[in-house]
């Protein structure tokens, strides 16, 4: 038993070291140059015209309180010090912690009937991203990897799927393999690490070194003609392409005019949203930005209010910025969390709220979604979903539908099991 655990941690350690020292998890993404010849986009034709082209997924990790954000109620006993405010759209009411966003409610659809059975963080995040419940024997791919698998990159010179500020150690692409994995970015300010030539090495020198490495590897590759060996070779080549890519400046938010950068706020999440917009502009398909610490068991109201200052500023700026650039039509902006928080306030935890998977809220905007609407309702206390329940799988199906992806297309895992992008869930087409 102990031995097994030791081995596991040793493996984790190795993987971690490889990632940190070699950038291994960063690199496998830059795959598939086959489509470069066509100028960039894969020859993906969506299932319907006017489909969206990219996704910005905002992951509120930790479990965002629905009552204190997108599903505020009149009843004082569940709202504590918080209250609801009107917005610029008749169909949407928000918590008073989101005053700026109230000016952009005409762009968003709020779903107040989210529901799941996963009440623990890891499981909840897993199903939110992967549409399947975790199993011991398989790792399911996240939405971004699915999107890459079904529709390919748009811009061949830079990664197609980027995750900003995520700390989840589970493989993003699961059984789809490293080719479809996310490129993780820790700090939006530093861009992709180690993506530049070391100083003092000219491009010629660099090419020569590569050739030398290639020559030394030839025998090894012959001897071990294995997919993974080949995979690593591709990884190097694609990484090199990236280092030379003009589009790499998409990752550099320091190039952004200071007034625009300021609109998003100084926070890491705000700057992550700014980076997401730059990446989408350069035709990256899927960007996820994580904003954590919503796990407000203690002192819910102070914490949520603080968190909302950042969210309010960043999300408002993102929506407005995408809109004025004409990008909101082709970009789905989705905000999700693993579950909501209890309507009942736990007083002896300084007015805290616990996990509540039965009812919570997501929002979705752009990409053909009709703004200014609320879909689904909870009862007057935010306890039960009253109508139009939406599961995380249906939410993912809705994103996939917006992108014109084939929802019923089965992809087989290496063990031969069929999977679909959102576990055969139906999209909520009423939102469009």
């Amino acid at each position: 038993m102990f031995k097994k655990q030791d081995e596991l941690s040793r493996r984790t350690f190795m993987a971690d070291t490889a990632r940190k020292c070699l950038g291994v998890s960063v690199l496998p993404m830059f795959a598939s140059k086959g489509i470069a010849a066509t100028g960039g986009a894969a020859n993906f034709a969506p299932m319907r015209p006017k489909a969206a082209k990219s996704v910005i997924f905002l992951n509120m990790s930790g479990g965002m309180s629905h009552l204190d954000t997108f599903d505020p109620k009149e009843k004082k006993d569940v709202m504590g010090p918080n209250t609801a405010i009107a917005t610029n759209a008749d169909g949407v009411r928000l918590s008073q912690y989101l005053p700026k966003l109230a000016g952009h409610a005409d762009k968003i659809a709020v779903i107040n009937s989210m529901t799941t059975r996963q009440g623990a963080h890891r499981q909840g995040q897993y199903i939110l991203h992967r549409s399947y419940a975790p199993r011991g024997t398989i790792v399911h791919p996240v939405m971004g990897s699915w999107v890459m698998r079904l529709s390919g990159k748009r811009n061949s010179t830079i990664p197609g799927f980027v995750m900003v500020g995520t700390r989840d150690g589970t493989s993003t692409s699961g059984y789809l393999g490293p080719k479809f994995a996310a490129v993780p970015i820790g700090d939006p300010h530093s861009g992709i690490e180690d993506s530049h030539l070391p100083s003092g090495v000219s491009e010629d020198d660099f090419d020569r070194r590569l050739k030398l490495a290639e020559a030394m590897n030839t025998r090894f590759k012959k001897q071990f003609d294995h997919k993974k060996v080949q995979g690593y070779e591709n990884l190097y080549r694609d990484a090199i392409q990236l280092m030379k890519a003009e589009d790499l400046k998409a990752f550099d938010i320091n190039e952004e005019p200071s007034d625009v950068a300021a609109e998003y706020g100084e926070s890491r999440f705000g700057q992550g949203c700014l980076l997401a917009r730059r990446l989408i502009e350069h035709d990256v398909r899927y960007v996820e930005v994580t904003y954590g610490s919503w796990d407000t068991h203690y002192d819910n109201f102070t914490n949520v209010e603080e968190k909302c200052v950042v969210l309010d500023e960043a999300l408002s700026a993102l929506l407005a910025d995408l809109d004025r650039r004409g990008l909101l039509e082709s970009t789905v902006v989705a905000l999700g969390t693993e579950f909501g928080r209890t309507p009942k306030i736990v007083e002896h935890h300084q007015m805290g709220r616990d996990h509540y998977p039965k009812a919570f809220s997501h929002i979705i905007a752009g990409g053909g979604i009709k703004g200014g609407q609320t879909y689904g309702e909870t009862d007057s206390k935010g306890m039960e979903v009253e109508n139009n329940p939406v599961t995380p799988q249906m939410f993912n199906a809705t994103i996939a539908y917006a992108l014109g992806l084939p929802l019923e297309q089965e992809i087989y895992s290496p063990s031969g099991r069929p999977f679909t992008i959102s576990d055969k869930a139906k999209p909520v087409t009423a939102l469009f």
């Binding site: 598939s32 140059k33 086959g34 489509i35 010849a37 066509t38 100028g39 960039g40 986009a41 020859n43 993906f44 034709a45 969506p46 299932m47 319907r48 015209p49 006017k50 489909a51 748009r154 811009n155 061949s156 010179t157 393999g177 090419d207 050739k211 294995h226 997919k227 080949q230 591709n234 890519a245 003009e246 589009d247 350069h282 035709d283 809109d323 004025r324 650039r325 004409g326 039509e329 539908y401 014109g404 084939p406 929802l407 019923e408 297309q409 089965e410 087989y412 290496p414 139906k426 999209p427 087409t429 009423a430 469009f432």
Partner: protein
């Protein structure tokens, strides 16, 4: 005896070829040059071509296998022969491209694998004896066939080295109908009214021969029966959607429509539909009707079928009781020619269909936009009639180069943000009556253009941020285009 056996298939093929000429499209032999060669060129030549110099180094063909000449294909690679004429299942080449892409031996190693139709053609071609029909290819650097690696499987696999001689006999026969990739424009698109009535002429034999296996999931004996291959023929949208592997119907193009290819195979072929004894095969007349129906654009004539279990349809927008612009326009165009498409792609443009089964295109520059010039963009003019979405944002285009825009009469989406264009360009687009999306942010377009823009009544969104347009001008435009979003 051996000789006879070897000759028989090719004699048979000659007969087939003659048949093909007499009754084109009856159930033709696969033409190597038009059906197989382009696939090899696109997916295999990169690694399996003649040795070439790249960056001062000679790159030899992978695994010693060359697919760029008949000799090379028959000789095989280091591991021996790769095709066994007459027997696709014993042919390594076919095995490698048809297994799961996750398999270590899957080919091609890079880029997309072969499509279902391409695999079908390849299989059929090998089954028919792998005839090259006079094609020789690039023999540069190839010794004579006897120099094939000794001890290879080449000998046991029907001695393809010699087979090459046999297979190349038809060399002197007249050209046996090379089926060009782009055929005559389908009838309906030439202006003749559509003649095939789907419900009266096509649906009855689909129901008789196909729907039993290919229909919505149903219960039988307590078990849910799913449609075979995920393919359903019981609803119009399901037919368009195709199977789990992709579309089976390409409206306007019978040759690319797998549903026709499958029923047209020889009846003893493994891939023939309907399979053995399951249902009555299509008669020759029915196949002809099916082909015509596809050629005419696969019009379902309002037939919907059984929508149960299909992904829900978009609710109709309240204002659009008429078909959307994209749907209307799609009916007016035929597919662009491969040549023209290639010329546009060569400028670095990316071209995509706006939707599955829709001949309208989106053209955009995704990377290296700043290097795009008027001369590049001029090339798009050749496919102007097919383009409904055009994104030239961030490129180096000028007013002069965009004079050609007046010819893009199907345009619904035009993005010119952050380019050097001025009011002059607006003159060129003021007649584009289908335009719904116009993005001009970051250009020097001014109030002078707004009355012209206001004439584009279908506009739903106009982007004028960071232009010379004034607040007053934007206000007037908002009044003129009440239903449109004017972003300023």
């Amino acid at each position: 005896m051996k000789l006879v056996r070897r000759l028989t298939p090719s004699l048979f093929l000659l007969c087939l070829a003659a048949l093909w000429m007499a009754a084109p499209h009856a159930r033709g032999a696969i033409d190597f040059k038009s059906r197989i060669l382009p696939v090899f060129e696109k997916k295999c030549f990169d690694c399996h071509g003649a040795p070439r110099e790249e960056g001062g180094e000679v790159k030899s063909p992978r695994a010693g296998l060359r697919l760029d000449s008949a000799k090379g294909i028959l000789r095989g690679g280091e591991g021996g022969a790769v095709i066994s004429p007459g027997s696709p299942d014993d042919s390594v080449l076919f095995q490698m491209v048809s297994q799961r892409s996750s398999h270590d031996d899957f080919m091609p190693k890079e880029g997309d694998g072969l499509g279902p139709l391409e695999k079908l053609y390849l299989k059929k071609w090998i089954a028919e004896g792998a005839v090259f029909d006079g094609w020789i290819g690039n023999e540069e650097g190839l010794g004579d066939a006897s120099a094939a690696p000794s001890g290879s499987k080449a000998k046991d696999a029907g001695a393809p080295g010699e087979g090459a001689q046999v297979a190349m006999v038809p060399k002197k026969t007249p050209e046996t109908t090379p089926v060009p990739a782009m055929k005559d424009p389908p009838r309906a698109m030439k202006g003749t009214p559509a003649t095939v009535n789907f419900q009266r002429e096509v649906l009855p034999f689909l129901k008789r021969s196909c729907v039993d296996c290919h229909r919505a999931p149903y219960e039988e004996g307590g078990r849910v029966k799913k449609p075979k291959a995920g393919l359903r023929f019981d609803a119009a949208r399901a037919i368009i959607q195709g199977s789990g592997e992709g579309p089976v119907l390409v409206p306007g193009d019978p040759d690319e429509s797998e549903m026709l290819a499958r029923v047209s195979l020889p009846e003893d072929d493994d891939d023939f539909m309907p399979p053995d004894g399951d249902a009555t095969p299509l008669s020759a007349a029915e196949k002809e009707v099916l082909k015509r129906w596809i050629a005419e654009g696969a019009d379902f004539g309002g037939w919907v079928g059984n929508e149960e279990g299909l992904i829900e349809r978009l609710p109709e927008a309240p204002t659009s009781s008429e078909p959307s612009a994209a749907e209307l326009l799609a009916k007016q165009v035929k597919g662009a020619s491969a040549q023209d498409l290639a010329a546009v792609t060569a400028t670095g443009a990316s071209i995509t269909q706006v939707a599955v089964g829709n001949p309208l295109l989106r053209v955009e520059y995704i990377t290296g936009e700043s290097a795009v010039t008027d001369a590049d963009v001029a090339k798009i003019g050749a496919i102007a009639g097919n383009v409904t979405e055009l994104d030239l944002s961030e490129t180096g285009v000028s007013d002069e180069g965009l004079a050609m825009l007046s010819g893009f009469d199907k345009l619904t989406y035009l993005d010119l943000h952050n380019t050097a264009i001025t009011d002059v360009t607006i003159d060129h687009i003021q007649k584009l009556g289908y335009l719904e999306y116009l993005n001009l942010y970051g250009t020097s377009v001014s109030d002078a253009s707004l009355p012209k823009i206001a004439k584009l009544r279908k506009l739903k969104a106009v982007y004028l941020w960071k232009t010379s347009v004034t607040e007053e001008g934007a206000g007037k435009l908002r009044q003129a285009l009440r239903d449109a979003k004017i972003s300023f």
